[in-house]
Symmetry: C2
Subunit: 115 residues, 2 copies
DNA sequence: CACCGTTATATTCCTGCGTATATATCGATA
DNA sequence: TATCGATATATACGCAGGAATATAACGGTG
């Protein structure tokens, strides 16, 4: 079938993942939904897992990537900070650049696969 | 501490990984040791796991990536085929190119991390 | 000041991955 | 032809990661 290639960039600190594809996608889901709960649902993961990922990101970066609020009319919500947006943009740009520069070799590799 | 960034390119076929960082490293270990058994030890994994990885690669590529022999003076051994060598080289070249083109952005991202 | 939906957090359970282990087979060489 | 080390394969066990579940706290708004 169609071999799908994907880059997975990870930046690791002390044997734990600072940022990777899953965390970036989660951040993007928070941007578009406005809450961790809804983002978790979109991503198909439990709220707990989503919260743990968000929490670890906030701890690993100098500046938090999200700003979570409890209470309020709609119970609260979570917004991605300017710093978080920069992380997303930078990560996606790296991905796009890497994919572009390697397109030829990736195709070569894919062609070696059985159909 | 020192944030270490790593690219992990995967080429996926039907939701299973055709080639990725672990399999490439295993192939390289087979090149340098001449057997699955020794390569598994070097990689710190069980023989079973190593054999399963090798087996899946041989099945997914049009041409086998290794040639395994049983019996003989030293019990046999496994050599990486020309096709396997091409897979390794192509994969490593993609990695190097991607890392090079993204060096600046990766540094930017790393700097956002806490020390 | 009661309501509501979200964040925050703990506990329990389950499942899949990998290890460990055991066994059969192979075949060049001494 | 007996030996020896590697391949090939099956079974059972352990464990970490994630899901499911439960509960408390929060704070605008009506």
């Amino acid at each position: 079938m169609k071999p799908r290639s994907q880059f997975r960039l990870r930046i690791t600190k002390d044997a734990e993942i600072a940022i990777g594809p899953g965390k970036v996608a989660l951040l993007e889901a928070i941007v578009s939904t406005g809450s961790i709960t809804a983002a978790a649902k979109v991503m198909g993961m439990s709220y707990r897992r989503a919260w743990l990922l968000v929490d670890s990101m906030n701890k690993m970066f100098k500046t938090p990537v999200v700003d979570a609020a409890t209470g309020g009319r709609h119970g609260g919500g979570t917004v991605v900070t300017a710093n978080g947006m920069q992380v997303i943009e930078c990560y996606r740009r790296i991905e796009a650049d890497a994919l572009k520069i390697s397109a030829r070799d990736i195709k070569t590799l894919s062609r070696l696969l059985r159909d």
